[in-house]
Amino acid sequence: MIIISPYSKPTISDNKPSPKNYPYWPELIKIIREKMPEQYILQVGVSGETDLGCDCFLQNLPLEVLKTLIKGCDIWISVDNFFHHLASIIGKRGIVIFSLSDPLIFGDPNNINILKDRKYLRADQFNFWDNVQPNNDAFVEPEIIFETISECLR
């Protein structure tokens, strides 16, 4: 079972999608489906998030349930949201897709923190996310994420 936690919370002031969200989830899921047809893909999130058409989409789960699921999965993938912090509490390693936030500050070194280039990092890492513009160029391609998944499951 692969768990994906695709979204970060919207910005506070204008409730826009977070710039931390990975723009290529549909493509990534398609690749996983094609190349790992035996894998069960579970999406977790909160109400209002886009259903990416995985095998299952569970919303608003209590932390204890999430922990149980994380412990039992083969691998998990998330953006820079609370999920990877939770997984690192359990000690279950996974893949985190970074873009504008700095994995050296916010990522757990035990995870595979994928950052395309540090040049995309925002200058002020500690300020609110309001008014930060999304930048799709800051994310790695889904093929690279898939290769990483394959490597982990090998």
Binding site: L58, T68, H85, S88, K92
Partner: protein, 1025 residues
């Protein structure tokens, strides 16, 4: 006696009324009860319940205004049911027409006939949730599951494997059945044991079930599908793949080793491995508990205050594990490479006959058999199922591994050292195989030489020919089958030396000498009158034996005689200076209670740990009493406190009455620990009192009768009457009789009318009103069994530092396990130890509602400022004794029944919730004043940041161990299992100010410090940990 409880949770009157009516019509309810868990149901249901009650239907209603959720409702019902068997019915069930009781017989009879059936029900399926098949291992899938819309489960099963998992919403049936399977139970579809594959509602069981229509109506289809999906995901992650369980027994002062071990496991185990780690902490220091609690997400742990020994610790871990392969790892082993799991487990997948692998396989020279050392070994679960667990006789450890390996191999399984085809290099100091592990151990750091040798002998005995049982052909003052059973019991037990107290003519001495490989030390006073009562098995005349039966026998050389008084201090010391430790003590000397007790206590330390003490003449009979044989009194006290065995031959051989003799044997793991035994405390005076309020017509008469009917008579009884309209009890038709009895048997009594300002005032007043030093406090809804006070007096008299002692205080229909109970002030959320039954006594840090105490230990008085309710008054009162250096004890094998009255009298007449809240605040302040100042941490940030703070919380707790840690949080769920007080950010600002909030804001801190490191380290630096 209620045999069956039919539990029906409901949120819907329209459904449950037809369901209950069908149960009433189709069931004989004489020995049954119906428990309706009404949660969020329409209040008109109460009218139906009243109607049923008026028609004498045994129906009980647990009423909750709001829905509890399905699984908590099930659990509330089960916990409040009193039947031996629990039948759970969904409220959308109708019992169909068929002969009366047919349906219940189908469910219950198989459970009565086979104790290993854990559940019965009409519908057994392959695990499926809605239309979702759950991919389980073949064995789990074939085991199937019973749908819990109608299921019967023995109460004892809940006691063994726990209640339903409240993390789940609808898949509790699959989860519970798989837990049953792992605990060794089967499940049975009734009346037919075939798996129904298609339409589930047309079996032969007389039932109609609306099924999904009901849940669709309640939740809506979309919500229901989400519930199914969520539970399916949990079941899949728990049971869906082949799992590995790593069991780590932890013992003693092991924190550093254990941390290294676990870190090495986590670092070297590929994350694709689906594993669980179970630490079985037994007899560990408290810092280990701290570590375990703070890493609960990384592993499961089981905590036992006392050492279990290695075999039992491993077994406990295995029983709570889920893996198909179980790896046993010592706490002081360090894994050195990430191939370790693969090395240990690959052989199982390659060859289905491989049962066990390990990093070292040696030959045990004692028995010339293979031994997979268990400091790092893997075992297929099927092997445990087939050959059983580790043999706990090998307490506290050593040689259980050889024994287990032999049993595994003898059952036809292969045992393999991994990596295969590598040889061990063995020198004087170490053994090195090819396995990536570092492990250094000196057995004698944790096991005494005596135990090591004992276990070695146990192994040798187990795999050596058994000792021959002989039929004595000499005169013997024993009964034939008793000595044969006695020998049978010990035939596999390695006995070097025996101590016999009471030799007389030596008939038993001679038999014992056959059993011992070395010596029988035989003590006798040698001053007997001629009253030989031997059961002469062959009618031989004693005269041919020249005084002693063993003279000139082939075992005479083993017998060492000591002649003297076994109660004389000098003689005792002399004997002890001359003998080696013994494996068995046989006591057959002074048969008075005090005499046999003295022999037992005086020579107990001659016994090896794990040795046995045997007593002769243990029968409690008139025949013994008339000749002043009172061994039975001691035997009854001892057999509650140890593993005990009785060998009794009721035949009449003509030379003695049939109701005489009897041999009792106890096993003693720790001979240095003297048990609590009776002493003559009949002169000890006790003042007893009851503080009562408005319970004249309910439990008060029973409570008073319980207090005055004790085997240890009280000297004085005081009734504090706090009732709103006090009655003239002296002239009351019921109470006048009770006071008359007191006058007749010589108990002084007084009635003091309370000030009606709450029970605490009465308790406080008793401290000055009581005329004796020992005060027994009993609540007005308590009923102490007649032996309670005698036992409490014996315990408190045995140690002048015991300040208070309580009995078990049991609500008859509620069961709690002693191992789940809390004894410290930080475990108040757990069941109180007094709510459980157990053998012997345990020390605690506070006591519950009824106890005997010394006035001297109560000089601090009761807490002030409590409301009339007096919530937690006894907790604070007794804990203050504890803090003042007094010991507090709970005796688990005498019972005071707590006849709980929720709606009549007592403190429950105060219905204003604010009283309870007020008292809880008083308690918190009291606790803080006793222990700690507040230290607040304000987490005004996101949930991810909370989770990062959670990682440093153990260090925070360590640094501020002397403070009361308060977390101000936005996401309290992150810390809800951390045992820390939480408040809102708003409250923190109110208490500590906006400036403090900003000072502790982690983002502002990182900004101020131009932080480039990890956020967790920023938290650590900010708080200096």
């Amino acid at each position: 006696m209620v045999k069956v409880s039919i539990v029906i949770p409901t949120v819907n009157r329209d459904l449950v009324v037809p369901c209950v009516e069908s149960v009433i019509q189709m069931t004989t309810l004489d020995d049954k009860e119906i428990v309706i868990v009404a949660n969020g149901a329409n209040k008109s249901l109460l009218d139906d319940i009243q109607r049923w009650k008026e028609n004498n239907i045994p129906v009980k209603c647990l009423w909750y205004d709001q829905p509890l959720g399905p699984v908590p409702a099930y659990n509330r019902g089960v916990k409040n049911a009193v039947g031996e068997y629990i039948v759970i019915l969904n409220d959308d069930i109708i019992i169909s027409s068929s002969p009366v009781d047919n349906w219940i017989k189908f469910l219950i009879e198989p459970l009565e006939n086979d104790p290993m059936i854990g559940a019965t029900g009409p519908c057994l399926l392959h695990p499926v949730l809605g239309d979702k098949q759950i991919p389980l291992e073949k064995e789990d899938r074939d085991f199937g599951f019973l749908i819990f819309f109608c299921v019967a489960i023995p109460r004892r099963v809940f006691e063994k494997i726990g209640y339903f998992d409240e993390l789940l919403n609808c898949a509790i049936d699959i989860d519970f059945c798989l837990r049953l399977r792992r605990a060794g139970y089967t499940i049975k579809q009734v009346p037919d044991d075939k798996l129904i594959e298609d339409d589930i509602f047309k079996g032969d069981f007389p039932i109609y079930h609306k099924a999904e229509e009901t849940v669709h109506n309640f939740y809506g289809i979309d919500e229901w599908n989400k519930i199914l999906e969520r539970d399916a995901a949990i079941i899949r992650s728990r049971y869906g793949r082949k799992n590995i369980s790593i069991v780590i027994p932890a013992y003693g002062d092991c924190l550093e080793d254990l941390q290294k071990c676990i870190i090495s496991v986590l670092d070297n185990t590929p994350h694709s491995v689906n594993m669980e780690i179970i630490v079985v902490a037994n007899g560990c220091k408290s810092n280990v508990k701290h570590y375990l609690k703070n890493n609960i997400d990384k592993f499961k742990y089981l905590w036992f205050d006392d050492p279990l020994g290695f075999p039992k610790a491993v077994n406990t871990g295995v029983l709570s594990s889920n893996g198909e392969i179980i790896i046993i790892l010592n706490q002081d082993a360090v894994i050195l490479g990430n191939s370790w799991i693969k090395m240990l487990t690959d052989p199982f997948y390659r060859d289905e006959k491989v049962g066990m692998t390990g990093s070292l396989k040696l030959v045990c020279e004692d028995v010339k058999r293979n031994n997979i050392l268990l400091f790092c070994a893997a075992v297929r679960r099927k092997v445990f199922d087939e050959v059983g667990l580790l043999d706990e006789q090998f307490y506290p450890g050593c040689f259980e591994d050889v024994d287990f390996t032999i049993r595994v191999e003898d059952a036809g399984w292969k045992t393999i050292q991994v990596p295969e085809n590598t040889e061990c290099v063995q020198t004087k100091d170490f053994i090195k195989g090819g396995f990536p592990i570092y492990h250094v151990e000196n057995h004698f750091d944790w096991i005494s030489r005596e135990n090591f040798e004992r276990n070695r002998q146990l192994l040798i005995e187990k795999y050596s020919p058994k000792r021959e049982i002989i039929m004595p052909n000499w005169p013997l003052a024993q009964k034939k089958y008793e000595v044969l059973m006695f020998q049978e019991f010990f035939k596999s037990y390695k006995i070097d030396n025996i101590l016999e107290i009471g030799r007389y003519k030596g008939g038993m001495t001679r038999l014992l000498a056959h059993m011992a490989s070395n010596k029988v030390y035989s003590i006798d006073i040698n001053d007997h009158k001629e009253s030989f009562m031997d059961t002469d098995l062959n009618n031989k005349n004693m005269k041919q034996y020249d005084g002693k039966v063993y003279i000139n026998s082939d075992v005479e050389h083993k017998i060492v005689e000591f002649n003297g008084d076994s109660h004389s201090r000098e003689f005792i010391e002399f004997v002890k200076s001359k003998i080696d430790k013994v494996d068995l003590i046989f006591i057959d000397g002074d048969h008075s209670y005090e005499g046999v007790k003295a022999d037992f206590i005086n020579f107990l330390d001659c016994l090896k740990p794990g040795g046995y003490v045997a007593f002769h003449d243990i029968l409690d009979s008139v025949e013994h009493t008339v000749i002043d044989v009172h061994v039975s009194k001691l035997w009854k006290e001892l057999k509650k406190q140890y593993d005990a065995y009785e060998f009794i031959d009721n035949n009449d051989y003509g030379t003695g009455p049939c109701r005489s003799m009897g041999i009792g044997v106890i096993r003693i793991d720790n001979p240095e620990h003297i048990p609590i035994l009776s002493s003559d405390n009949s002169e000890v005076k006790v003042s007893a009192y009851i503080s009562t309020k408005d319970r004249y017509n309910t439990t008060l008469p029973m409570a008073i009768m319980g207090v005055i009917s004790q085997t240890h008579k009280i000297d004085e009884f005081i009734l504090f009457d706090d009732s709103d309209n006090p009655r003239d009890l002296i002239n009351d038709p019921v109470f006048s009789h009770i006071f008359g009895v007191m006058e007749r048997i010589g108990i002084r009594y007084r009635i003091i009318i309370g000030e009606r300002i709450g029970q605490v005032a009465n308790h406080q007043k008793m401290l000055t009103e009581a005329s004796n030093d020992l005060i027994w406090r009993v609540d007005d809804d308590n009923y102490p069994m007649p032996n309670v006070l005698e036992r409490l007096v014996n315990v408190i008299s045995s140690d002048s530092k015991i300040g208070a002692v309580g009995s078990a205080s049991i609500v008859w229909n509620r069961f709690e396990k002693a191992e789940d109970a809390g004894i410290t002030l930080n475990e108040l959320e757990k069941p109180n130890l007094q709510w459980t039954e157990f053998n012997g006594h345990r020390f605690v840090e506070h006591l519950h509602n009824t106890f005997l105490f010394r006035k001297q230990a109560a000089s601090h008085g009761y807490p002030k400022n409590l409301s009339p309710v007096g919530h937690r008054e006894e907790t604070m009162f007794t804990h203050d004794m504890y803090l003042n250096g007094w010991k507090l004890v709970v005796v688990g094998d005498v019972i005071t029944w707590h006849l709980q009255q929720y709606d009549i009298g007592g403190i429950r007449v105060y219905t204003d919730e604010r009283y309870w809240i007020h008292d809880e605040e008083v308690f918190k302040r009291w606790k803080a004043s006793k222990y700690k100042e507040d230290k607040v941490f304000i987490l005004d940030s996101g949930i991810g940041d909370h989770l990062e703070f959670l990682k440093i919380l153990p260090k925070i707790k360590e640094k501020y161990y002397d403070k009361n840690i308060i977390l101000a949080t936005c996401y309290p769920e992150v810390f809800e299992r951390e045992g820390v007080e939480q408040i809102s950010i708003g409250e923190a600002i109110e208490r500590y100010g906006e400036e403090e909030r900003r000072r502790q804001n982690i983002y502002e801190y990182m900004d101020r410090n131009n932080w480039t490191g990890h956020i967790k380290d920023a938290y650590a630096q900010m708080h200096g940990v």
